[in-house]
Symmetry: C2
Subunit: 639 residues, 2 copies
């Protein structure tokens, strides 16, 4: 199938994954919930009214999701454990990926999956962010390590597309969006992690040439080298000697591993040396490289855009990168939930507590209340995180392509506000979900057999990179909450008030809405308190930035789950009407739920919102209490 | 140095660890805090008034802790990363431990560390549980994998000591307590994990012999085989054919790897085959074995105690095993905190938020509020967990050896009540501490270099084995809260009320005591509510067992930290008096804190209690709210 019939044969296509040729995978993708988010709650068909998406349709989006699921289940998942086991290795200065990546990478490119949301003019599939993210959930959830190569490459490509010259675009872009060449982002140095302004890599202009001479060392470069693409295009942050110190003097350079001739063919190698790869807790098959530029020979780099604006360019890409990082939490957390759910239904252990018979029989552990609580907690978080992520990605679609200025601005505001929450809350809670899944598995969770421990190891990185979650909290509180004099938050408040207000008299959801409203008020109170206290004690709000972000994540999750519940309830009512079941007839409703997958799905949505609101959301008020305590002990303690 | 002068030369001695012969370790043991717990808060010298401990003294305990620290820092810690890397391997049916364990094991035995708290009549050091646990914290914290061999061996030995025949004791005990032979506990089978009653291993009496014929398969056997001891004594749960089904028909058997002659010498091998070892997330050097008994030849086992009482015997040992599991959380969590603290003081990144200068300078990250919050959270949990564990261990000392019946009973009651909390809360929060530590390290936490990721992988198992933390919560709510018609909890309440009441008018602590009192009342309210609701809906309390245990852990932590703060405050006042500093002179107090380690330690104790009470404890009320919600969604959802 081809999305872009105008694109001719060189375009990539989504092709069905081969069936039955690989080991049966254990990965389960909750396409039902993904589609409920996209079509029933968000209404992504709206996007096809924008000129950018006029060639797209709901049917196409559904097909994409179906094919993504097939590829994830059929190809990516079966290769995951082996890739973790083998890992990436550095052999004679070159990174060698697991053997099973060679075919997988070919299939992935052939399937048209390399750049799902990027510009179709250059080989991307041009899907909306919301739909693209939904598809990528399946890929990351089934095989986290594999997705770094394409992820980093298209991010780097996108930077070239937006800020590069025509020549840069012509030389690099399509090769990157189609995965012929790889790409990286080279930011961190040993002494410059969160504080990028301290970097020491230099770029010295070369007389009479269009390139700079790059010298320096970078660390923690994801997919910094690999043996799957002909060339690798590094985007390197460096300082031109004489430019200002700190963040304001940093520029961005294209530094290809192998230099490129004017006709796009490969020339001689650049001096880009892989000096090491990290041994990490997880994502073993994704090589995290130390790279030395210009240490032995000449390393040429081409300036991207204007001098001294490198960090600014990077930050423009950061919303996208942070959403993808949040998506790792969503994807891996939900994969862990799904496998725990299957296990809990199969594993029999101990009798039900209500079984008073003389010889009580063992039941599946899903019958035990404490196990149900773990599963329901995972379900609630998992669906909340997915809603949070897809809702924010949907905002980014309007922020990028809406033709209505007011709508576009509002969407950008919401995107800016919610991105740090998506990144931090989804990654931390995705990790938490793997922890809960492991408890459901018991000893079988701690060993490699079911892959739960790998999920825990793989997801952990998401809380750390693309700005640690502490940095996200500072971004939210110190920047996003202050932008436009608090206007972003006020807009969010207004929308939330409107939604909750519409439910205040609702028989089914009135009480839940009241709970969410109280938590929302707590969030507002906390924000107001910071404004007051921050003036005379600027450290105090920052001390509470992390709990504040968590609180926001809880409230936004509750709001989104409640929204889903209202949508589900009206769908459920329609089924009742159709089947002639009365809302008061509990027995008939129960029977319907047991027979009808849709009814069960919708009923569960209501229960999930209820669980989140009554079991998890109360923490928001506890956080407000700690914020309002005035306690400065952590600042005062003499460690 | 010898604890037991009467013991003669065959007794083990605590010998100082060699200095300077091994790589400098990064492990830091907070001996100051351990000693504050033991001597200033608990007053373990009291134990020397009991006849069991009449030969011991505070000086001896201090020396033990000093030597334990030396051994941990000098010997165990330097071997930890390599052992993780190499792991244990199964070669031709035999488990081979990392090479560096051979010398380490010899040094450990020579140092007299094999059985610190066990009976000196048979080669143990006979230390109180409280002091022994404190020493073992250093060992587990510096090298978690290594401690399984001695831990399992002495547990198995203790069972033989209590329930075995004179002949069993004579044949096995001293060899086990001194580490000449190893020992294991063989409980779990593939289909019988949490539900041990479902096991299928059989023990058939052999006509005219004193032994049984053992046939069956066990899994997840820690230290199930190793190449460090001459023999291994397995304690195996099995059912004699014809005995009742379920838990009531299970007996316990001694099954030596190599049979033992009447004179204690080794005879021919028993049919005990290691059929596999697990690949695990962590504790790589600790072999987790599958064992097959009597599959090919004859496997002889000797009944321990009476028939059908095997599970009961096991449970009697479980308090001890669960405390040790909690200790893993305390030890590894605190090790992670200490290393994050050192890193945060050394790592420079970004300027202080309050630095308004033109060219702000980067500072150590410990200057940043969000990092301080992470560190303070770790410090507060770390000290609370240690207090919880040592306090409970101290109870067990009185439960075992008090000469006053009332005191002994009360101590046993508190031990029973607090053990599941120690196990679950300490293991979960120890894991949480490694998560926070990793955030402080950022990218450096995810790679192997600083050992944080290993700590996270190693500590995780503690939430799972010795009964998953879900099982602990059921034990607390379903068993311990009901024992003696709620008498255990009432005793705890009475003590807590008394302590908090004594502070109600206190200028420094009155307000904090009020907060803890409210949380304690919430705990009581929740318990009372369960009694009421549990009658008509027995699943409802169980659904909230895990949050209830967490709530109890929070309240008990707050109580203990507040207690510590009051002790510290009076010590601090004494220093002020001695130095002539007035309590009102903040400047002079600050100067004193900067110069005087003791003053700083005590001041920090007060701040730590304050932080826990205002920043962490509010969650307890949120939990009450969720418990009181009546929400049954997790029971009703149709997964």
């Amino acid at each position: 199938m081809s999305i872009h019939s105008r694109a001719g044969p060189r375009r990539c296509h989504f092709s069905p994954a081969a069936q039955g040729t690989t080991t049966m995978s254990e990965y389960l993708f909750d396409r039902r919930d993904v589609e409920f988010n996209l079509f029933d709650v968000l209404g992504v068909e709206e996007l096809t009214k924008l000129s950018r998406y006029q060639d797209y349709s709901r049917e196409l989006f559904e097909m994409v999701l179906g094919e993504a699921e097939k590829f994830a289940v059929g190809k990516l998942a079966p290769a995951n454990a082996e890739a973790d086991e083998v890992g990436s290795r550095l052999i004679d200065g070159n990174v060698v990926l697991p053997d099973n990546y060679t075919q997988l990478f070919k299939d992935f490119r052939d399937g048209g999956w390399f750049a799902p949301v990027h510009n179709p003019e250059y080989g991307g599939q041009g899907l909306p962010q919301s739909v693209g993210m939904a598809a990528i959930e399946a890929f990351v959830g089934s095989h986290p390590s594999f997705m770094f190569i394409s992820g980093l490459t298209v991010s780097a490509g996108h930077l070239i597309e937006v800020h590069g010259t025509e020549r840069d675009v012509e030389l690099y872009l399509e090769k990157m969006y189609t995965g012929q060449w790889g790409g990286t982002m080279c930011l961190t140095e040993p002494q410059a992690g969160s504080a990028l302004g301290d970097l020491t890599t230099t770029a010295t202009p070369v007389d009479g040439e269009d390139y700079y001479d790059i010298v320096g060392n970078k660390i923690f470069i994801s997919a910094g080298d690999q043996n799957l693409t002909e060339n690798i295009v590094h985007l390197v942050l460096a300082r031109v000697p004489g430019d200002p110190e700190g963040s304001r003097g940093i520029s961005l350079f294209i530094v290809p591993k192998i230099r490129v001739n004017a006709d796009g063919s490969l020339a001689e190698p650049n001096d880009v040396a892989i000096t090491g790869i990290e041994e990490k807790m997880g994502i073993h098959a994704s090589p995290t490289c130390s790279i030395s530029f210009g240490d032995h020979g000449e390393c040429r780099g081409w300036l991207v855009g204007e001098r001294c604006r490198g960090l600014q360019y990077m930050f423009l890409m950061m919303n996208e990168a942070r959403l993808v990082t949040g998506l790792q939490g969503v994807a891996i957390g939900n994969a862990a939930y799904q496998s725990a759910l299957v296990y809990a239904k199969e594993r029999s252990q101990g009798p039900k507590v209500t079984d008073r018979s003389e010889a009580p029989k063992s039941v599946a552990i899903i019958e035990h209340p404490d196990v149900r609580r773990n599963l329901m907690t995972m379900k609630a978080y998992g669906e909340a995180l997915r809603a949070l992520l897809l809702n924010t990605a949907f905002m980014s679609d309007f922020a990028l392509y809406s033709e209505d200025e007011a709508e576009k601005t509002k969407a950008q505001d919401m995107l800016d506000l919610l991105t740090p929450i998506c990144k931090a809350f989804c990654s931390d809670m995705g990790f938490k979900m793997t922890e809960l899944a492991m408890q459901v598995f018991g000893g079988y969770g701690y060993i490699k057999e079911y892959g739960v421990e790998q999920k825990m190891r793989d997801v952990k990185i998401a809380s750390i990179y693309e700005g640690t979650n502490g940095i996200q909290a500072l971004d939210l509180l110190g920047r996003k909450m202050r932008m436009k004099s608090g206007g972003l938050f006020l807009t969010w408040l207004q929308d939330t008030n409107e939604f909750l207000g519409s439910l205040s008299e609702d028989e089914t959801f009135g009480e839940m809405a009241k709970q969410v409203d109280a938590a929302k008020n707590a969030l507002g109170e906390a924000a107001f308190g910071f404004t007051a206290s921050g003036k005379k004690d600027p450290e105090y709000p920052l001390l509470h930035a992390t709990p504040y972000l968590r609180m926001f994540g809880l409230v936004e999750s509750a709001r989104l789950l409640l929204k889903q519940a209202t949508v589900a309830q009206s769908k459920l009512s329609a089924i009742w009407d159709e089947k002639g079941v009365s809302a008061d007839d509990a027995e008939a409703r129960q029977a319907l739920i047991e027979q009808n997958d849709d009814a069960r799905f919708y009923e569960n949505k209501v229960k999930t919102a209820q669980f989140f609101i009554y079991q998890i959301l109360p923490e928001a008020r506890a956080i407000l209490k700690s914020i309002q305590s005035g306690d400065r002990s952590a600042l005062e303690v003499a460690f």
